[in-house]
Each structure stands twice: as structure tokens, then as C-alpha cells.
């Protein structure tokens, strides 16, 4: 069951008004423009036990992504492809609105939007994840771990997932006589083959404004958010309206325009994270 959120904090009308007055002047409470994302910082290779990892700070939002690999059997209908799984957890230490327990609809939506975006642009070359066709392939787990939630988990998580994948190693392995694969974890193998980059840009509709990269309070007072995924050529490779407000056609057009600009900023930061740790 999906239920109307009934435990969100109440943002006082005055606060909302002050946000709107700022937007009128094209700015936000932290000084940035309504079209700019917050400061983005990506650190890759922050964990040793994970085959790949990245910590993304987007303003006060912090998301950690870890890549773990296992050997598995391929799906029957794709014997020559590895398996990519994206999982997200809204860890309760990240926000007073998160509860311990299995992923809720928001965490599941987050993981699925990221998963679809990666899949549609063929970000990871699944064909390169085959050990023995039809028998043994790599299963690549991307675990999104939200550590501090100050809004816009989509963009931060997508960046963390991409950066972690772009810096992830497949460990060396040995084929035993029994056919089993024995991994030598920690011993550097080759990199996971990442062919394409993808970012999402989230805009929010607050009052009559379309703002880029909402913080948590802005999310709460927004009518809806629109998550648009882009590849390096700035093609639209995914979209998700989230939140219950209705969207006008012209709002979508504006959102696409401003999102494309922000996407370029994200790509720049992501490019810097490639290979660097």
C-alpha cells in the first residue's frame, strides 16, 4: 500500500513565504540561483572492502555508494550478460523521517529510477561481465546508502552510483578444477567496463517556480519533483515525476531546459571523479 505521507514535518507558512520571496529574486537561502545545484563533492575509493565506492556530498546531503561483486549464474534469457542490481537504503541515521526496516516505497523508487537510468544508456557493459558464457557471470551490486538527507537523494545517489562503478575493480580469480570460481579479493583485477555516464537532475515546483536541486525543506513545500536522466550527449534517458502535484506542459518544458544546464555541471564533477581516488 502506498499511503499519503502523514508524518512529514510541517514547514511554517512564513518559511515558505520567505523561500518564495527569494525565488522571485532568482536566488535561494544559501545564495545560489534557483537554477543551480548546490556544491557537489565526490570522493571515490573511500572504502577498501568494497570493489568500488564513492561518497557524494550535495550541500548537506550525503550519499555513500558501494559496489560489491559476486560470481553468479546468468539469467536464462541472457546467458552472455552479467547481472547488475541496484539497491538503496534510507538508513535511519540519515534523517528523522527514516525508520529502521526494509526499504520503503521511497527507497525502492530511488533504486529503481537509478537502475533504469543505468540500464537504458547501457552505462555498464554487461557483456564484459561474463566469466564462462551461460554458466558464470559477475553479479555487480550497487548499494546506495543515504547517510544524511537534506533533499535531492536522486541526483546525489545517481552520482554516487556512477562514480563508484567508474572506479570499481573486478577481483582476480582462479577457475578451480570443479568449475568453481575462487576470487582473490583485494588483488587488483581489471576495472568494470563503464561505457556511458548518466546523471539525473531533479527540479521541484514550488509556488510558481521551477527550482533545481531542492533541499529537504524545499522538497516538503514543493508540489512535485521531476527527475530527468541525461546521458553525456544530454539526451533524455529517463524521467520520473514524484510527488502528488499536477504538472503543466510548459513546466515540463522549462524543467527540461534548466535540467540540461545542471546536468553539465554534474558531468563535470563526475568526470573529475573518474580514475581519481
Amino acid at each position: 500500500m502506498s499511503v499519503t505521507p502523514f508524518r512529514l514535518p510541517v514547514i511554517p507558512a512564513l518559511k515558505r513565504q520567505s523561500y518564495l520571496s527569494l525565488y522571485k529574486r532568482g536566488v535561494r537561502d544559501d545564495g545560489r540561483s534557483i537554477r543551480s545545484p548546490r556544491q557537489v563533492e565526490i570522493k571515490v575509493g573511500v572504502l577498501d572492502k568494497a570493489e568500488g565506492s564513492a561518497l557524494v556530498k550535495l550541500g548537506n546531503t550525503q550519499v555513500l555508494a558501494g559496489v560489491k561483486v559476486e560470481v553468479t549464474s546468468p539469467f536464462k534469457d541472457s546467458p552472455n550478460q552479467g547481472v547488475l542490481v541496484v539497491h538503496a537504503e534510507n538508513v535511519p541515521l540519515a534523517s528523522p523521517i527514516f525508520e529502521p526496516g526494509p526499504p520503503d516505497e521511497n527507497a525502492i523508487e530511488l533504486a529503481r529510477v537509478i537502475d533504469r537510468s543505468l540500464r537504458e544508456v547501457k552505462a555498464v557493459d554487461l557483456g564484459s561481465l561474463v566469466i564462462r558464457p551461460g554458466e558464470k557471470v559477475w553479479n555487480v551490486w550497487v548499494d546506495i546508502y543515504v547517510l544524511d538527507h537534506d533533499g535531492n537523494l536522486f541526483d546525489a545517489s545517481m552520482l554516487a552510483a556512477m562514480a563508484a562503478l567508474m572506479n570499481a575493480d573486478l577481483p582476480d580469480y582462479e577457475e578451480l578444477e570443479t568449475g568453481e570460481i575462487s576470487l582473490r579479493r583485494g588483488v587488483g583485477g581489471r576495472k568494470i567496463k563503464v561505457d556511458h555516464m548518466v546523471v539525473t537532475v531533479t527540479t521541484a515546483k514550488v509556488g510558481s517556480y521551477i527550482i533545481v536541486d531542492p533541499n529537504f525543506e524545499e522538497e516538503v513545500i514543493s508540489d512535485y519533483r521531476l527527475v530527468l536522466a541525461f546521458d553525456e550527449k544530454l539526451r533524455i534517458v529517463g524521467a520520473q515525476k514524484t510527488g502528488s502535484g499536477g504538472m503543466k506542459l510548459e513546466e515540463l518544458q522549462e524543467a527540461i531546459k534548466v535540467s540540461k544546464e545542471a546536468a553539465q555541471i554534474y558531468f563535470k564533477v563526475l568526470e573529475q571523479a573518474r580514475g581519481g581516488s
Binding site: 500500500m1 516505497e105 503543466k248
Partner: protein, 239 residues
């Protein structure tokens, strides 16, 4: 032998439809006796049943809002609705779809008239042949109206896909499995509002706009059809 799934030399799809043509649509309301409102919607072979219960008191007392009714939506697939039997436990896909369907309906229902209550919308996919969320939203909108709940507008939904480079309306399962993009849209045409918008796949900006127009035209027709069906049902009741 099945027809090749794509667009043939005459510009028609594997089942003979034009790119901007929906499958045959059927809508029935008041199909269940217990529910406050109900509807059965078919888009071709896709069959979805929706029922509304409420406004009613929530079982858990804390699950209320002081200023409006809470909407609870469950999208669920019957085990026999798919090619391979679907386990009845809710999948991650069903969890996500329940959320986007709820959000597609939430703002058209005037929930402020029923504070401290819950309105339940149950969407059951009886047969899945593509477009189940679209048919489900359409059925839910009808069921809400059939329940007599005050609504700002009716909502309907359809998906636009891209197959062999062309945009096509109301993608079925065969098309979806070969498609390059799938863009489900729900809207309340009388309000000029898009209430659900998702895209899975790669589209240019122009294709997004064109696909959206295609979807919105179809949604207008679906909402017109909803109105007709609801009107007929009122007349039957009044007789």
C-alpha cells in the same frame, strides 16, 4: 506465426493499429457489490479491476491527517495475470507503481472534505498485456467517481512507446519487450495537469514533446469515455 513486432511498410503495427491508435478500450463501472465504487477497464487484453472503499476510519488510529483524508493505493497483480505465475507477495515494481498511481490520483480527489479518514483504492491486474498502470489509473479514476467522491476532475492514463524509431500509442506487451522507450502519462485534461510522468528509455526532447501530445490527446478521449460511462451508470441508477 506472430507478425513481426514493429511498424510495417503500410505504417501499421503488429496488430494492425496505426501508431497513434489505442487498442480497443472497454470501461465498466459498478462491477462489484461491496465496494463503495468500482470499475473494470480493458485496454486490449489488459484487464484491470479497481475498487474504492471509504472514506472510512483507519485501522491504525495514528494513520490520519487532521485536515484531509489519507489516500491509500495498492497496485497488485493477480498470480495468473502474467505469462509466468507471479508470486502474490508484492514485488518492488508493485511498490513503486502503487506510489506513482497514488500520486497520479491524489490531487484530483477533494480529500479535504473527509478529514481524519482513509480512502482505499485497490487496483488488481487480472491480465497483464502492457499498459497495466495506465489502465489501472483509468479504472481507479472511474471507481473514485463511482464511489461518489468529490473530484476536481477525472484522470486517465496511457503509455507512449518508441518502436523501430517511431512513437506509438498504448504499447502492448509484445511491443514493450522490443521497444526503445516507454513513457507512461496520466493527466486530468480538465485541469490541464499531468499527474503521472515517467520515462524508461531514450528519447530526444522533441520526441518527449511529441509523445506527450500524443498521450494527452488519447487521455482526453479516455476521459470523455469515462464521462459517458459514468453518466450511463447514473442514469441506470436513477431509473
Amino acid at each position: 506465426m506472430k507478425a513481426k513486432v514493429g511498424i510495417d511498410e503500410r505504417g501499421l503495427r503488429h496488430d494492425g493499429r496505426r501508431p497513434d491508435e489505442m487498442r480497443p478500450v472497454s470501461m465498466k463501472v459498478g462491477v462489484l457489490a461491496n465496494a463503495s465504487g468500482s470499475a473494470l477497464v480493458e485496454f486490449g487484453k489488459t484487464k484491470v479491476l479497481a475498487a474504492v472503499y471509504g472514506p472510512r476510519e483507519p485501522q491504525q488510529r495514528f494513520m490520519v491527517l487532521p485536515e484531509k483524508a489519507i489516500l491509500r493505493v495498492r497496485y497488485h497483480m493477480a498470480p495468473f495475470s502474467t505469462t509466468e505465475r507471479k508470486s502474490p507477495a508484492p514485488s518492488r515494481r508493485e511498490v513503486e507503481l502503487s506510489k506513482v498511481i497514488r500520486e497520479a490520483l491524489e490531487d484530483v480527489v477533494i480529500t479535504s472534505e473527509y478529514p481524519r479518514t482513509v480512502i482505499d483504492v485497490f487496483v488488481e491486474v487480472l491480465q497483464a498485456d502492457g499498459g497495466t498502470r495506465a489502465a489501472g489509473i483509468t479504472a481507479a479514476s472511474l471507481a473514485l467517481a463511482d464511489a461518489g467522491l468529490p473530484m476536481k476532475a477525472l484522470v486517465a492514463s496511457v503509455a507512449v512507446g518508441k518502436i523501430a524509431g517511431a512513437l506509438v500509442l498504448d504499447v502492448d506487451e509484445a511491443e514493450d519487450s522490443v521497444g526503445e522507450a516507454d513513457m507512461p502519462v496520466a493527466a486530468a485534461p480538465d485541469l490541464g495537469l499531468i499527474t503521472l510522468f515517467q520515462l524508461n528509455g531514450v528519447l530526444t526532447e522533441e520526441e518527449v514533446q511529441r509523445g506527450l501530445s500524443m498521450a494527452l490527446r488519447a487521455i482526453e478521449q479516455l476521459v470523455a469515455m469515462e464521462k459517458t460511462v459514468l453518466k450511463q451508470s447514473y442514469e441506470v441508477v436513477e431509473e
